[in-house]
Each structure stands twice: as C-alpha cells, then as structure tokens.
C-alpha cells in the first residue's frame, strides 16, 4: 500500500514563551521568536502511515509546502519510517488559501500513484481544517475526516472510525484510493530511532518550484485563492472580560474569589 502523508510545520504553541505579534504587513505574524514543530494532527497522520506500512508493506512519501526550514519536520517523518519526500517551495506559493494549497499538494501527489493520502484533520496555526477535504475533491477520491482508527479490510477497502462529539466513534467503509484526515489521539506517535535519523539525514528531499508543479502563477498564492486573507487583528478586551493582574499570589486569590462568588466551586 503506497501512502502519501502531508505535513505542515507550525509554531510550537506548547512553549509557554511563545508570544504572537502581528508583523508590519498586518497579514502575517512575527515568526522570528517561534520555534517550529510538526503540526500535531499531522504527527498522528505520519504515525498512522508508518503503522500501515509496517503491517501491509508499501512506501510512505512525505509531502510538505514550505521553505528550507521545513526540512526539519520532513526529515523527522523520514526518520520515523518515511521513504521519500517532496517539498513544494516557491515565493509565489505565499498566501495560498485552502483551494490553492490543495491544488499545490495535488500537483505533487497526482503522479505518485498512491492508494491512500493522509493529512492531519486541522492545522494548529490557521485552524481551517479544510485542506484535506479540498485535496480529496481535487484528486477525485472519497474522503473521511476526523479519523481516529484505520483498519485494512482488503486491498480495495478500509474501515475507518471517525471521532464525533463526546468521543462517539462512527465506523465507515471507504474504497481506496481515498484520503483520510487524521484526528489526534488515535495512536501513539513514536520517537525517531537513531538508525532512522542516520538514514533520513542522507535522504534526498525533492524540491518542486512553480515550474515543476506544472501550475501557472494565477493558480497559486493569492491570485489562485478563492478567499484572500486581508488582515490580522488582536481582539479588544470586551466589557464582560476581566483581566486579572498582579503577582501569582494576588491573581490566584482574586480568581478564587470570583469562582466562589459565582458559585462555581
């Protein structure tokens, strides 16, 4: 079973020192102080791809859109068991929306002849949760989103469990080739092994620029997008929100009083 897994590099928001500041353009955030990691859901997608490969054979190809810095997350996915990688990198790709992003991913995936495409169900930075679905439409394959369990029925069919509200698991059968947008928590992402790291550090990452994608400039980036992001803004503090200030001792005491007053504890 040949699998493609799409990975995105995102700011590490688990780091308590991460501060988000809008940059001078108003259309981006200052990334200079971020450390970057693989998107959480994509990490589970990578693990799912490797588990399937270990059980059923085949190859796993890692696909990413990003600059050279994204090699870090690509190589880590290779170290965990990925076989090859493609990175889509061109200045013209900046400001691609869901549709343009899916179009770019399709250009890298369409000739790989894969049976299964895995993505994370949502990126932790922009939170669209739509690239996987748009990509499935463009590849003209069925899809399932928020997938937590994947079982191979036969060489044509998968049984997938989608996680709904309250943890309810909805079981579906889906024909391959297909696309699954993977939810977090369905497996336990492994750590890269030393052997994997050594091999991955030598593997080639194929880079595709605009010309290599076969797309035209008006199909990518802002001009290829249906939705154009115009401005970031910081939410204003509303009347109903009370910002508690002071030392940890003061803030915790104030918070405890509020919780008591409202009868919440």
């Amino acid at each position: 079973m040949n699998i493609v897994v799409c990975v995105k590099q995102v700011p590490d928001t688990s780091d308590p020192d991460t501060e988000v500041h809008i940059d001078g353009t108003g259309r981006g955030v200052d990334q200079s102080k971020f450390s970057f990691v693989i998107n959480d859901a994509d990490n589970y997608a990578v693990e799912e791809a490797i588990l399937l490969k270990e059980k059923h054979g085949g190859e796993v190809t890692v696909v990413n859109i990003g600059g050279e810095a994204a090699n870090q997350v690509i190589r880590m996915a290779l170290a965990k068991g990925g076989d090859g990688a493609v990175r889509l990198d061109d200045e013209s790709f900046v400001y691609s929306d869901v549709v343009a992003t899916a179009r770019l991913l399709k250009s890298a995936i369409k000739d790989l002849g894969c049976d299964l495409v895995l993505t994370g169900c949502m990126a932790s930075d922009d939170g669209y949760g739509a690239v996987g679905i748009a990509l499935a439409q463009m590849l003209e394959v069925p899809h399932a989103a928020y997938v937590k369990t994947v079982e191979v029925v036969d060489d044509k069919k998968l049984k997938v469990g989608r996680e709904l509200e309250g943890g309810l698991l909805e079981m579906n059968e889906i024909e391959m080739p297909c696309l699954l947008a993977i939810q977090t928590g369905g497996n336990e992402p492994r750590y890269a092994s030393f052997k994997g790291i050594r091999e991955a550090s030598k593997k080639e990452i194929k880079v595709m620029d605009l010309a290599a994608t076969g797309l035209s400039a008006d199909e990518v980036g802002e001009s290829g997008s249906v939705a154009v992001m115009t401005q970031y803004s910081v939410p204003e503090v509303g009347d109903l929100a009370e910002m508690i200030e002071g030392d940890p001792a003061e803030t915790s005491a104030k918070l405890a009083n509020i919780l008591k007053e409202k009868g919440l504890v």
Partner: protein
C-alpha cells in the same frame, strides 16, 4: 573551521528535546519531591538507544558519537537533571566494555546495555576513596577459577536498579593506582547486595546507593581488560563521563536562564517588569554568555573524542567550567526570582539543588584543575 552541526546531530537534538518535553518535564517536579526513580522512562530511553549512544552499530548501539550524545544529554537535563545523571552514568558504563572488553563480554553485556535490555552502573568510589581512587581498598582475590570480592562501594548512581556493575577492585599487592582491576558483576551474584539508599540535597529522582560485597565470587571471564589495568580503564571511562556531566550542567544552566527570563518579564515591581532593570539584565547577560562559552567547550571536547584525538584535558575544562557556571547561574536565577525562588513551587528551587552535585561528582572542580594542569605541564615538558 565550521560551527555547524550536521543534519544528523540536529535531528538527534530534536528527538531528545521531543522525548524530554513529553516524557520527563511534566512529572519532573513530582518525581523530585517524592524521590521516584522513573524506571519506565529509563526503559524507554534504553529502547531508543539513548543509554548506549557511543556504542557502534555492530554492538547494538546508536553509534551516534559524542557530539550527538552531548546534545541529547543537555535536552534531557534541561527537563530533568536527575534523569540526565542516570543517562550519563548508563552511557559511561558502556565505555569499559567497549574499549577493553573481549568479544564474549561484548556479546553478553555490551549489546544488551546498548539496546537498553540491561542497565549498567559504575562503582569506583569507596568511603575512604573519593578524589583519591588509587587508595581504594575493595579486594578481589585471585582464586584460580574466580575472584573473591570483599568491600563496600558508595555513591553509586542507580546501583539499586542496575543489572550489571562495572566494579573497580584491588587485585594486586601494589600500592596506589597500580594493582587495580575492572570487573563486570551481575546483579544477583551471591555475596553482592545493595546497601542503604542516600537521602540527597538534589537529583532526588536519581538513585544513589551503597553496594556491599561479601565473599562475592566473580567468574574469571568477567575481568575486563588486563589485571592491573583497572585504574587506566576507570580514568578513560571518566573522561567520557565528564563531557556527560558538563552537558548535564549546561542543560541545568539553560533551564536557569529560561526560567529567569520568563519570570523577569512577568514580575512587576516599581511599576514595571523587573527585566527592564539593569541589575537583572546583567545577571541574564552573564548566564547567556556563560552558556555560549560552555557550549563550545563541551562540543570541542566531544568533537575531539569523535575524531579519536586526546580529549582528557578538554573534557576536564568543559566539566570544570560548566559545573561552576551551573552553580553560579542557579544562584542568579534564584536571586532573580526573589522569595518565590526559595519556594518549592518554582522550578529554580529544584535547579539550585540539582546544580550543586555537578562540581562534586565525577571529579570535583579541584580534581579537574589538577587534571588540566598536569596535562598542560606534560605538554610543555
């Protein structure tokens, strides 16, 4: 001259950071408080190859080299200094077998140590022999088909949990450092038992015990290297151990700096964040400058080891400088935190206690200076 890490080294650091952030950091404070040795995490580290990082592929190790080892150990120490000393000693325990073991010993023990199936410890120090290991008195009498071992070892890191012990004992009548030999002793060997567990100031999630040997019969084939080579083997193992402890101290120092910056930016006095005061900025600048210097001292010693160059002096320099830096930085970090830093609720309180051991074990700062000076004077002889 190149100041670049290789792709592989960067990935090892990232993997260790990922592991430390997920498996160690969340429970580090609680383990310290309750003196819990995290056997489950240590097991996982073994399976990943983190406990046999310098053992080559053919003996089941990671074959990652000393530079990668230092980077990984730093990340572990940043999250939990206790687990870092466990990692350091486990890696050190592979050195005698790797460098001096015969093929049978390597197959029997090294392979399993490198793959995390066995946990190794290193037993040199005795109640009367600390900085002067040449004065140790544990005896290993040659009884033709075995050695009969009697005596006590102290301050043995994870001695209670180790499956095999690298033991240095006296086999010959010669005085001082001559007449010592190294043995591999398996847990469960009759006559070998674990004594009292030490109640320490810091590194409380690492295990430190006495090992007792009373008419303990160790088979002849468990002698590592030649009889009388024990001191040399121990010193070579300690050279590697020292870059490990330097890396641990650097991890602690980096944690001190990050905790200080975070606190100083959040803490307001006189109407502004204390990070805006020059007095605080100077402390932060001193820590950061020290970290930069220590980093290159450690990497240079580790690089020399990977290149097969002598690195005894450099390892001692790295250990001396970084362990002293860790203590100064922990002092400054606690000072920046003021009264809160004195409370167990804040990480710096633990860092302050954990840093303290680094200028003492695996050679005190005074011994490091002695090693550095002797090597220098020899070079200029």
């Amino acid at each position: 001259m190149s100041f670049q890490l290789t792709e592989e080294q960067k990935m090892v650091r990232l993997m260790a950071r990922d592991f430390a952030g997920k498996e160690l950091e969340p429970m580090a404070a609680q383990r310290d408080k309750e003196e819990i040795f995290p056997m489950d995490v240590v097991k996982k580290m073994g399976e990943l190859g983190l406990l046999g990082m310098m053992v080559p592929d053919e003996y089941g190790g990671a074959g990652a080299g000393a530079v990668s080892y230092c980077l990984a150990l730093q990340e572990i120490a940043y999250a939990c200094a206790s687990t870092a000393v466990t990692m350091s000693v486990a890696n050190l325990s592979t050195e005698p077998l790797l460098r001096f073991g015969d093929e049978t010993q390597k197959t029997r023990y090294l392979l399993k140590l490198a793959q995390g199936e066995l946990l190794g410890c290193f037993a040199l120090t005795e109640p009367g022999a600390g900085s002067d290991p040449g004065s140790l008195s544990m005896s290993a009498e040659d009884k033709r088909d075995h050695y009969l071992i009697n005596g006590t070892k102290v301050f043995i890191t994870h001695g209670q949990y180790a499956d095999v012990v690298n033991l240095i004992a006296r086999t010959g009548p010669e005085k001082g450092s001559r007449g010592l030999s190294t043995f591999i002793v398996e847990k469960g060997t009759p006559g070998f038992s674990v004594g009292s567990r030490e109640d320490k100031l810091g590194l409380r999630a690492s295990n430190t015990v006495e090992l007792l040997f009373s008419d303990c019969k160790v088979p002849k084939e468990n002698l590592v290297g030649k009889p009388g080579a024990g001191f040399k083997i121990a010193m070579i193992a300690l050279d590697s151990g020292r870059i490990g402890i330097a890396s641990q101290a650097l991890g602690i120092t980096r944690a001190c700096l990050d905790e200080s910056i975070r606190y100083a930016k959040g803490r307001k006095q006189f109407g502004k964040a204390i990070s805006s005061f020059e007095a605080i900025q100077w402390m932060i600048a001193d820590m950061a400058t020290g970290i930069e210097a220590a980093n290159w001292l450690i990497l240079s010693a580790a690089w020399r080891k990977d290149q097969g160059l002598p690195f005894t002096k450099e390892a001692s320099m790295a250990k001396l400088f970084t362990s002293e830096l860790a203590n100064k930085s922990a002092y400054l970090a606690l000072q920046i935190h003021g009264g809160y830093g004195y409370l167990k609720d804040f990480k710096v309180e633990r860092l302050y206690r954990d840093a303290r051991a680094t200028t003492i074990y695996e050679g005190t700062s005074e011994i490091q200076r002695l090693v550095i000076a002797r090597n220098l004077l020899k070079e200029h002889a």
